[in-house]
Subunit: 289 residues, 2 copies
Amino acid sequence: MCNESTIQASAQSTLADRIRHEIDTFTTSEKRAAHVLLSHYPFAGLETVAEFATRAGISAPSVLRFVTRLGFNGFPEFQKHLREELEARLLSPLAKAGPSGNSQGAPALASFADAVIGNLNATVENIAPAEFEAVVALLSDQRRQIHFTGGRFTGALARYAESHFRIVRSQVDYIDGQPSLWRDRMIEIGRKDVLVVFDIRRYQEDVIALSETAARQGATVVLLTDPWLSPIARVARHVLPAPIVAPSNWDSSIGLMLIAEALVGAVTRRLWDTAKPRMEAVERLRNGE
Amino acid sequence: MCNESTIQASAQSTLADRIRHEIDTFTTSEKRAAHVLLSHYPFAGLETVAEFATRAGISAPSVLRFVTRLGFNGFPEFQKHLREELEARLLSPLAKAGPSGNSQGAPALASFADAVIGNLNATVENIAPAEFEAVVALLSDQRRQIHFTGGRFTGALARYAESHFRIVRSQVDYIDGQPSLWRDRMIEIGRKDVLVVFDIRRYQEDVIALSETAARQGATVVLLTDPWLSPIARVARHVLPAPIVAPSNWDSSIGLMLIAEALVGAVTRRLWDTAKPRMEAVERLRNGE
DNA sequence: CGAAAGCTGTACCAAAAATTACAAAACGAC
DNA sequence: GTCGTTTTGTAATTTTTGGTACAGCTTTCG
């Protein structure tokens, strides 16, 4: 390896970079320490050895071995280095800029993330705040029943949204996309109901059929889809599109997930007076169990 | 809990502000301490009492009296406060703008997206490329069977990942977190198996139990979790953490979703020769129906 | 399958840190 | 100038912290 004797806080290479670089040469518990340090960098390292160890789920001696392996001559020296690095970083505000390094090796995750972040920015730009707010208001109407559904892949998103809304308010359920499973449930759906449907390209026949049926019966349909718009858009009251292309053989649904989580957050805030007791009750039930 | 209410790190007023305001009520040596602290704020306070004292040209007890007068219950508490303040400052480069309110104007979706994007950047930074690649290699090993599972909310993510992997390769399944459903399936899990588990805080007992059982039987555990690490990290071979805090009453799982999608993409590319025919076959089956 | 190497945690120890007690010094008031 | 009060430093004390030896366990390699 490199000459580990040279620890100095070069403005360029932070200790974090070195750890990321060498992490696969670490032992299991050293990796744990590294993860904790990196995810709370550098503050996790400024606490005591015992606290650091607890946080990482390892023993104190393992933490000591970790810092020794990094080339430091004891824990206090390690902390001193972190402080100095932090001070330097704070004095030059540009330090936090781009992930410049990111050299050759494996930008697999990084480049994918870049594309996704682009998608998220575009998602925000393409959705009118008024539209978003309208959906929030709709989902905050406690007199309405809310149903979630989605296709092969997006069904998981619908479930994700439903599992949150279920706690925030009552009258929430998930409808499986398979026709045999929803056909009979349709008789209950009417003007007071809201259907939130996730559907992206390779638009799924059965999901479309479900949505059209619901719309025909007077339900209000909210559609989360890609920019090319699922056919469901024809019957939807509100359409929230999000880009889905990514450097992958698959589409990315993260834009839809963003919308879903933002909706959950906004509705929770709006219904806070009733949502809070519900959330606490759920918590109590879980603990009591 | 502890009544730190007296001191607490109000987002608004930093301790430095208070010191500046009260400095003329201090004694001579307290003023010296204050002056040193302010000129190297807050790093002077993060050293030991003795170092601080030397730097200020006063005695250690004077330093102690200084922090006591500031209202702290001992020097360590004082340091803890400084660390937290520093962390808060570093995490929000927007200075002290309290976004808590955010009531009307600010588009809820936009600010939420900003936070999520920050999470995604942090996610990329905190995961070592080597670690990511190791997981890709593991999931690309067609001789192994891969199981996905997750908790109340994260279960949907596990399903999402599983629905993709299922098409890319064989030997993929989803395990429901409920003990009654997985207990008997465990007999089949052994050294050749991989368990990919999603678990974020409010770590779920049954998911932990499932993972520990699998690990005990020799399965390789891959954990996607938050920066505080689910207890499952203790038995996991690979840990991929992602920040989850968002301006919402709920945690955001989008960082985990990013990792999941990136894994799907990378594995698909690596197994392309066998994955492509599979994907085409699935397509044909869907259309033929 | 068995032995060796390496990793990890428990228990303990030593060092250093924070804290307190107390007396000397500085300051002010009269 | 002296007394009383406040402030400050020295030194002893206690608590906490970092560090180490060792034994059990896991993994690896023959």
